[in-house]
Symmetry: C2
Subunit: 104 residues, 2 copies
């Protein structure tokens, strides 16, 4: 690999690193909100999952992905990946709740 | 579910939807760059994977996740999820290249 190649790859990688930092901070914010949702649902005995809501999210993200020239299949896989993690968080909240009812 | 519960969940969901839109557009931009990287590497016969770069990315994202109070394990899983997708894109670029050398 020449110095030119190295410099060009470095330039690409700087942009990727900036985007990755934004993604991580955005995800951190998203989990802060879904954590609040988890506590709220537990406090008010609301059902943890909402299939209709999930279907709307998928449709919406697929449309946004298309408009941004991103593979809609990928946006759906991405949402499922995030939702799986949220469900695990919610399960931890519920387990914690069953051990210690004073947590909320 | 009462109207109050519904209204509170709606408020949470609006924020989640805003963040998801940002994530999708950010990911679209990330894939635009990794696509350029894929073409560049193919054009200059550079190796598709770089293990050392990947290790640096993981360490950096774990540190950023910690600073944002996000589970570092999740940030690592997330990066692997994205990288798997990028590798699939790069493979498609390579396959396309072998079928039609005039693509780039």
């Amino acid at each position: 690999m020449t110095d030119d190649h190295q410099a060009q790859l470095e330039a690409f990688r700087e942009s990727i690193d900036n985007i990755d930092a934004s993604l991580v901070f955005m995800l951190a914010e998203r989990f802060k909100i879904t954590q609040k949702v988890g506590f709220y649902k537990r406090e008010h005995n609301l059902p943890p999952a909402d299939k209709l809501r999930e279907e709307h999210q998928i449709e919406r993200l697929r449309a946004l992905a298309k408009s941004a020239n991103l593979d809609p299949e990928f946006s759906e896989k991405f949402l499922h990946f995030i939702i799986r993690e949220v469900i695990q968080h919610h399960e931890r909240i519920r387990e914690k709740g069953s051990l210690d009812k004073d947590v909320t």
